[in-house]
Symmetry: D2
Subunit: 473 residues, 4 copies
Amino acid sequence: MQIGEVNDDKLKEACGVLGIYNSCEDAGLGRTAYYGLYALQHRGQESAGIAVTSGNGIKYHKDMGLVSEVFNDEIIDGLCGKIAIGHVRYSTSGSSTLINAQPLVVKYKKGSLAVAHNGNLINAAEVKQELEEQGAVFQTTVDSEVIAFLIAREQSEDISKAAIECAKKIKGSYAIVMMTENELVGMRDPKGIRPLSIGKLNGSYVIASESCAFDTIGAEFIRDVEPGEIVIVNEDGLKSFKFNDDNISSLCIFEFVYFARPDSRIEGKSVHMARMEAGRQLAKESPVEADLVIGVPDSGTVSAMGYAEASGLPFGIGLIKNRYIGRTFIQPSQESRIIGVKLKLNVVKDVIKDKRVVMVDDSIVRGTTSGQIVRLLKESGAKQVHVRVSSPPIMHSCYFGIDTSARKELIGARQKVDEIRQHIGADSLNYLSLEGLIKSTGISEQKFCSGCFCGKYPLEIPMESKEHLFEKR
Amino acid sequence: MQIGEVNDDKLKEACGVLGIYNSCEDAGLGRTAYYGLYALQHRGQESAGIAVTSGNGIKYHKDMGLVSEVFNDEIIDGLCGKIAIGHVRYSTSGSSTLINAQPLVVKYKKGSLAVAHNGNLINAAEVKQELEEQGAVFQTTVDSEVIAFLIAREQSEDISKAAIECAKKIKGSYAIVMMTENELVGMRDPKGIRPLSIGKLNGSYVIASESCAFDTIGAEFIRDVEPGEIVIVNEDGLKSFKFNDDNISSLCIFEFVYFARPDSRIEGKSVHMARMEAGRQLAKESPVEADLVIGVPDSGTVSAMGYAEASGLPFGIGLIKNRYIGRTFIQPSQESRIIGVKLKLNVVKDVIKDKRVVMVDDSIVRGTTSGQIVRLLKESGAKQVHVRVSSPPIMHSCYFGIDTSARKELIGARQKVDEIRQHIGADSLNYLSLEGLIKSTGISEQKFCSGCFCGKYPLEIPMESKEHLFEKR
Amino acid sequence: MQIGEVNDDKLKEACGVLGIYNSCEDAGLGRTAYYGLYALQHRGQESAGIAVTSGNGIKYHKDMGLVSEVFNDEIIDGLCGKIAIGHVRYSTSGSSTLINAQPLVVKYKKGSLAVAHNGNLINAAEVKQELEEQGAVFQTTVDSEVIAFLIAREQSEDISKAAIECAKKIKGSYAIVMMTENELVGMRDPKGIRPLSIGKLNGSYVIASESCAFDTIGAEFIRDVEPGEIVIVNEDGLKSFKFNDDNISSLCIFEFVYFARPDSRIEGKSVHMARMEAGRQLAKESPVEADLVIGVPDSGTVSAMGYAEASGLPFGIGLIKNRYIGRTFIQPSQESRIIGVKLKLNVVKDVIKDKRVVMVDDSIVRGTTSGQIVRLLKESGAKQVHVRVSSPPIMHSCYFGIDTSARKELIGARQKVDEIRQHIGADSLNYLSLEGLIKSTGISEQKFCSGCFCGKYPLEIPMESKEHLFEKR
Amino acid sequence: MQIGEVNDDKLKEACGVLGIYNSCEDAGLGRTAYYGLYALQHRGQESAGIAVTSGNGIKYHKDMGLVSEVFNDEIIDGLCGKIAIGHVRYSTSGSSTLINAQPLVVKYKKGSLAVAHNGNLINAAEVKQELEEQGAVFQTTVDSEVIAFLIAREQSEDISKAAIECAKKIKGSYAIVMMTENELVGMRDPKGIRPLSIGKLNGSYVIASESCAFDTIGAEFIRDVEPGEIVIVNEDGLKSFKFNDDNISSLCIFEFVYFARPDSRIEGKSVHMARMEAGRQLAKESPVEADLVIGVPDSGTVSAMGYAEASGLPFGIGLIKNRYIGRTFIQPSQESRIIGVKLKLNVVKDVIKDKRVVMVDDSIVRGTTSGQIVRLLKESGAKQVHVRVSSPPIMHSCYFGIDTSARKELIGARQKVDEIRQHIGADSLNYLSLEGLIKSTGISEQKFCSGCFCGKYPLEIPMESKEHLFEKR
């Protein structure tokens, strides 16, 4: 689960990336990168890494764990220089996966290169095979290594040309931040599936998965990297290259549903405001006679406020997240599973007692936790519990960097809404329509990938990928 | 700071205590105690401990750290038995203080004894001296050791008599849970300064600092232990003894302001509801022309909702707590202090931009963080920031178990309200009146100790205590 | 096992103690104590602790682990002052026993007191009961706590008087180092069962279990503390008190056999020289026709050299200890036990091949390892293996601070020598006679306790102790 | 230093390698590899790793630390399969070097490959450049990665052909153990500079740097891998390929001086016996009138015995290594350096007092420790100290896998013998002649590389290497 998230029945974002080009050599570069990564922590809790250069080789540190666990003062102070890139990766387990932590740092014929990637290359196996035929050896299973090899084999002195050639070979979703000893590179796939933004700090540029990183380090948001765009930052400033003309944006709509931090802006829209609006839409689409609207913290709270506002029902805090949820607490035995929810969520009985409660959550993936929360509310005195979900049922796998698990685990793919309602013990259950969700963002439908809801993807998925689904990479 | 609390400028509760008497020998006793302690974690994050007995000696485990850090499956499974007591203690640092972790477990002439204490004995030094004259040696600096010696020197076979004699000797605040090899004992000082409640679980009794622990382990709240009451639970059930007749309750009002968990009930009142009401009172006492009410998470949120409701202003989520606040993140250097607040709090610019904002917090102790949050809001686009505090200025030290630090550090004791306003850079600043606070609880004024606000204490404070103030113990 | 010892079938010494009185306040006091304790590490590997005073309270640090693990620069630098005492304790496992680590530091009516003890009080239970009747509570199971209470209950201002009264109450073996805020105290039981020596450093005094600690810290050996003697070191120098007149020394003979470090001197005799001589005696008592004498490292090597010298046979290095024996290496499964010995001992095949080998070891306790070494030698090409043990069979339990385990585990108590020979697969087996062993020390027979060999003890053992044998304390 | 070595003024061996081909799939494979690596621990204490295959992919675990620290039961039990290779690397510090731990495991066009290397490629930079021109990217700085790329670019299906082509490209010293999913490969440079041996276990083959690993795991020594030989072990048994005809052996003579474990056999000769003989030669070359011969433990002991035997002087144990030397003990301050030696070495005063002592050590590198030991002996009562070194002065850097540090740090390169004598405060100092050293091994002079003593190397050293000297790799 995302640590600190009480309802762990969520989709998992794969990664967050960050790049900083300093206007001048700076001893505090590592620290700035650290704070920026810290702001992107919600995009990945498995491992964290920062690489820096002063123009002569690349230093880096990466390890399994949260940003706050991976770095300490001594390490950060050693990461000084002119350019930095950083990466956070989502939480699985096992130290053996350290080899897969990013940024990936390599030496190649033109010097040192560091690569950080968010997304999923759907033709990685194919490209790897081609590279192996040419003598390549792979030490990791991350796409970044494929990207590094593609960059390395180009003869051109010009990193922009190498990046364009690389982009021509790879298919899938990618928001890439790269660094040579002299340049910072940002690169976004032709569909713009994963987000990537440009900011300005002290007269120079920063690149990050989300704008919230800019706010934390005091940078100013400039614009998103466009689909099919490569930006190169060096001492001459920022240059842009388009490697693909007919780019039709297909931004992952789940960034608005759950992944992005509420204080981020994506495609010019406030994520928080979109979620509030989704709650309002939900109220319009699926009203219910009730006494109170509550949210499942943290991610359901805002939509619950929107629902309350639009429905005219009072908003209340019926569930409070325990502040001390740690990674290691002792799991209850099978027979007392509900205690697991009680440890994470404190019910304010006086708020919900004898009430008909509307409980708003942002999504239901496997359906494991929702039922426990409904039961907890009822045991605590709620007369009725009406579940409202501020996004549609998840019915299809994602091939572009989200861990939707196997399709067979998706309750929305297996059961009808009323079956799910019975499963979770709710008095009523409604999902927001895809139209309603899109409307809440204020962005036109064509600009989104909503494959997990509707099964239509912006790229053709190779059969092989369909079989393997999402292998953690 | 309380881990997970973004505004660390808070008073510190000293301890939480817990006791469980099983209806029968139970392998899951340690686990139940663990979950109960976990629910009391907000009352102390320094150390945690559980002691158990099966009627023949006492086993225990205690260490520095959070409940989830101190125990693991193996340890908990080893803590089986018939009676358990537990303790959490507030966070300072230093392994040398492990000796002060509780419960304190000793052997004395009648067998084994374990003691857990929340509160502060104001005559501890005096009693210690008397005991030392009789040959006692002290290995810790906690009051529990004094209590253990007082129990041990009694000749009576009857633990209730020993407890009564002990109670006659000690002065100050105490909510004590003790355990012999056969009995569970709860004991609350004659003024009832610190809370202590009785619950029922599987036909037997549990005792805890707050009722939220009962909810977590599935116990039913029965009643508070009364001021000046000793309850003894053994195989014959629960017996009550009063050791002091003229008990006038002087419950610590700060339990309602900040300490207690919102889902607890104290003196029959919901803490959450009282805080909501305090917000309403605050709106009535100190209205302001504004566009939006926001709370400082987590503790200011509920009062902010109450303020919004009573004032008719919209409630918004303008500040979101970072989910990944850890104990170890790298501190920003002096010149960029505000980044420290930014790491903990994410501002939703779109919510507060160009707004006149009412920012509600529950208390201001030293005034260190409030100013940073005001500045952050203004930098993020708030037109005005009106700070409203849902309790009065803290002007006096506490001698009854709360770490108010030295009086000279209390900004409320040093500066007038308008000076504080200037200090924190707010456009206006108002505190809730003591009357308003008391009214919000629905409990009569006489039943509270509000010494930290008004300087009147339920017991005379020895000069010595006044000088030493609160030493961590 | 003692870490680094390849034959772990050894008796276990319980503790080492150390005390330093500085001629002046010294920032390096902790460091000196650390190095001194490090030199006594062979006497106990379970826990280590140092307490210091500057005349106003006592600071201390103690934890489970080796001296080098328990302390670091920061901790040691914090342990500055005028007087220090230290303690090492033998290796068992379990963090719960931290409470039993020493020195034990207490506050009592005259201030602070720290106590470190090597030995075993055979009337501890009785004394504890008496103290409990007077209201004492015990938090540990170590004898030091009993000693602290006995000191604390004395009214005299004079620590020497309190120490004498304490000495009158306790029975058994004790080499005690204590510290008030102004005095360092050394104290040895009337039989002098455990060793304790006085040294001089920079014009002031140090006290330690063994003289090797003096060599390490650059102190000069002065004399042993005498049986029944108390020495008090303060700013006026060293004063001696005898609390018992008819003290007949009964020094534990096993100090010469195995416990003491070879470079220590006890009762004016070199331990190394005594072991060399024991080897010579063994050769005289039990010669054998052979080609080579080897020792089982480390403790058998010196006696092997003595055996070689006296027998005229060549001494060879047939077994080399692995330098990297750690505490944690993966244990071989049952069926391949011999690999466990191979990991600890490297056989130099070219040395022993086709040879008739005399293998000398210092003692056999349970007989578990010796057979594996014999088998290893034979598998490596030795034609014959004649085992010679430089001490008699251990046939009786120790009640004075040595862990001889239960008597039934002592192979010498269960089997005749020839049975043992068969058990370990040796071609011949001989033990040194008790007379031979005593002769090798150059000290008269009357001055030793050799209870583990002969069953005669210097004090009458209470039945209770006989039943409980040696419980780890 | 090598942990557990008291005189840390030693040359550092770079690595140890190990390979096991099972006759059948074996759950205990990881355990066997673990024990084998444990026996090679003296060849490298920085990091340890084991890779295994069952014919379908390669699993591995590697980390910084000793073999006993890197692996635990769970990890080892997960490393089951048919083929294993292992590697230990010498001790530097810094977690960032984890990337350099071996075996290096990669995927290439024919599947998975694991490589472990002992030695130093003197043309690594050149080969890397050539590979980079072809598009290679390097993630580490170890030669194993160069080797992996060379193997990967070969088209042949036959691993022996790929290995031969690889061998034709690389220059320098190498004892390589590699593993595909079906074959185990051993490979030794044409000069045979680093040792590599073949053993037999349960009807199949094992390969290791030293034969002592065979003894530990119960394998039988067969023969050394010959210089310029590649051996391939698969289900058809072992096949040998020679890739270079005019191989004149140039075995590193320092293996006999210090690196190899005494119980190993190299080139058919016992290392222990050679060291004993070196001591005898030393006595013949450099006799001295004295009373006693002692060795500096551990490595000087055997030569001291040889010296004693040949000189007719008695051998004594005057210095005993402390059993508890850990990696972390607190360093003494500058002014009391000698305490550092005292913590590692216990002087048996009664042995050396008033004696003219011959102190034998195996080598002197920087000359830092020897002087402290001489001083310690004199302070402890030795009348004279005559230092005898059982190898010649080290005057030249090594380019073949030994860390001789910069030449300017070698005391033998900077000072004449008598200056060194004065530096260390010895009454006399003599080194063994190169002739004497060679004679002691019983191997002809031509078969050795003795470049560090005489400056003549078996291969021409590129200027570049001369400048960079030995960079840790």
